[in-house]
């Protein structure tokens, strides 16, 4: 296992554990305001300090991890659940009108500036975590559809697929039983990358007030709140920012590490 994989997995697991732990325990209650204790620097009774309402920042980071992970995970889920079948379908019907329609549809979604459309969606339908998920998820669909099609096409030329066809299996069965297992690794790696992009997108949307709404804690919102406080209490901006940075960095390293680990051809090429 590479160093990337270990560091990446370590960081990712750390944040996932923090998020999981927040369901049963946080150091403080984040909905309890404690104004006299506001803007405490890190290191005292509150390990990472307090914000302008005297809320414990570590507790908010834990709750925020939950929001970030939930939003990004469901958004990746949407992309996979719709994108992979579309890609399999396009590859199975390669060269047909259906294939052409699916691929042109993909190009179209790619051409849209995702952030602008996400803003449009959340602006019209209201700012909420659910709408943020939909807005981010839509742009994951073409990523997985294109990747699946690209990986599935060469597989269709292989002898074991021919054998399956000779056995009388339908294109749908071959896609599920033979193509899908062969592209799983690729999907896991891409899923990790899209997961990290989802975390960044969620943070950006909630920073501009179009993501999760209070009282739901979110890293992007914490940064928005910190913007006017950054000169008097820098930790209010530094802590959530580093949380996003480390989580995204961890997922990217995990993705790189998994790719090297899961794909023996690349590993051989490196040696």
């Amino acid at each position: 296992m590479s160093r990337n994989l270990i560091i990446g997995a370590g960081l990712s697991v750390l944040f996932i554990c923090l998020a999981a732990l927040s369901f049963i325990w946080t150091p403080y209650d984040i909905e309890a305001l404690d104004i006299p204790n506001k803007l405490q620097a890190p290191g005292g009774a509150n390990l990472l300090g307090t914000d302008h309402f005297g809320r414990d920042i570590l507790s908010m980071i834990m709750m925020g991890a939950r929001t970030s992970i939930a939003v990004a995970l469901v958004a990746v889920g949407i992309g996979m659940a719709l994108g992979i079948p579309l890609g399999l379908l396009a590859a199975a019907r390669h060269g047909s009108l259906l294939d052409e329609l699916i691929m042109r549809g993909n190009d179209l979604v790619f051409a849209f500036p995702s952030l602008v459309i996400a803003i449009l969606i959340t602006a019209v339908f209201g700012a909420s975590a659910v709408n943020a998920i939909i807005a981010i998820g839509i742009f994951n669909i073409p990523v997985f559809a294109r990747l699946t099609r690209g990986a599935a096409l060469p597989l269709w030329e292989r002898d074991f697929i021919l054998a399956a066809r000779v056995c009388g299996k339908s294109a749908a069965r071959i896609s599920v039983e033979h193509i899908l297992p062969n592209i799983t690794n690729l999907m896991i790696v891409q899923g990790t990358i899209q997961f990290s992009l989802g975390i960044l997108a969620e943070a950006a949307l909630s920073y501009i007030g179009l993501g999760a709404q209070p009282p739901t804690a979110s890293w992007g919102r914490m940064l928005a709140d910190a913007q006017t406080l950054v000169s008097i209490a820098p930790h209010t901006a530094l802590v959530p920012g580093f949380a996003i940075l480390l989580m995204v960095l961890g997922l990217n390293l995990l993705g790189d590490g998994l790719r090297d680990w899961l794909d023996p051809r690349i590993r051989v090429a490196r040696v």
């Binding site: 190009d107 995702s114 952030l115 449009l120 019209v124 950006a204 910190a226 940075l245």
Partner: protein
């Protein structure tokens, strides 16, 4: 080449058509009555009726769509409900912040990424390469709006080299550029990280090619072969990415403008969203989507003009 260009042009037109339909549908059809949405829950029925008439909502959906599109094509973006001025005027005021910001960031991104990528590739596996690749990992993981806040904290609040936000206008170009410098850096850095990675891997591909070996065999030094042959060829995919990044920078500027209180298109969108001025939101979003699609189209064409293999593939 002409066949390729025509093909791309057709898909450009279809993209724009579908984009306009989607935006129109999201804004004018899905939320129910846009007039009631814009005026809020406490609006009097006669006010809503007045706005409905002004927006032309008493006409059929199809008429409204065609009116909107033909208006856009003639540069008529409609009338803002809250500002009471033509949307085209609002846009032309603000485009002079957003567009220069995107160009500035693009130049910075290229200036950082080219040397970094070339240096890393020419010293593959060495400490310089590892340091630069590590830095790009950080670069792609940093949320740019947070990086912007950190820049403000260091360079505006502590060192006082720059102002923390606002825009003085182009009356004094130097002051204007200075006001755009921190935002441009914040926008450029994550993009530079991506670009440096593309530059490095593209150059590494080229360095493995036969023509580089030939160049070395005929007596060129490593340095000469790198600069005269490899870098030139490696630039082609890099230029494509730069084209794509421009549209990202224009759209990504929306958030950075919020951090620095810059009066650009991004702020216009947000002010219109909170004022529920859907007419402005609709037209500005369409303008951004239009720019992105047209820039991508131009990049595709330019790429095909330089690289005949791409034309053949399409």
């Amino acid at each position: 080449m002409i066949r390729y260009a025509l093909g791309r042009l057709t898909s450009l037109i279809i993209s724009l058509l579908v984009a306009s339909l989607v935006i129109f549908a999201v804004i004018e059809v899905i939320p129910g009555d846009p007039a009631a949405f814009m005026l809020g829950v406490n609006a009097r029925p006669d006010t809503i009726a007045a706005l409905r008439a002004e927006m032309g909502l008493d006409q059929s959906i199809i008429t409204r769509y065609f009116d909107w599109v033909t208006g856009l094509l003639q540069g008529d973006f409609g009338q803002s409900w809250t500002y009471k001025t033509p949307v085209a005027e609002l846009i032309s005021d603000r485009i002079w912040v957003s567009l220069p910001l995107a160009i500035y960031a693009l130049i910075l991104s290229a200036l950082i990424a080219f040397p970094a990528g070339i240096f890393a590739a020419s010293r593959r596996g060495g400490p310089g390469d590892i340091t630069i690749m590590g830095a790009t990992q950080l670069g792609v993981a940093i949320p740019n709006f947070w990086f912007a806040m950190i820049l403000v904290l260091i360079f505006a609040i502590n060192l006082r080299w720059f102002s923390a936000g606002g825009f003085p206008g182009w009356g004094d170009p130097l002051q204007a550029l200075k006001a755009l410098t921190l935002p441009a850096i914040a926008l450029a850095l994550p993009q530079a990280a991506i670009l440096a990675r593309v530059m490095r891997s593209s150059l590494l591909d080229m360095l493995g090619e036969d023509f580089i070996r030939t160049a070395r065999a005929k007596g060129l030094t490593r340095r000469q072969a790198l600069w005269r042959h490899a870098v030139r060829n490696a630039l082609i995919p890099v230029l494509t990415i730069i084209g794509l990044q421009f549209s990202f920078l224009l759209a990504g500027g929306i958030i950075i403008e919020q951090v620095f209180f810059l009066p650009g298109l991004g702020r216009l969108i947000f002010q219109s969203i909170s004022a529920r001025d859907l007419i402005v939101v609709e037209s500005v979003v369409m303008l951004l989507v239009f720019t992105v699609i047209v820039v991508n189209f131009t990049v595709d064409l330019a790429y095909a003009a330089v690289d005949p293999r791409l034309r053949a593939k399409a």
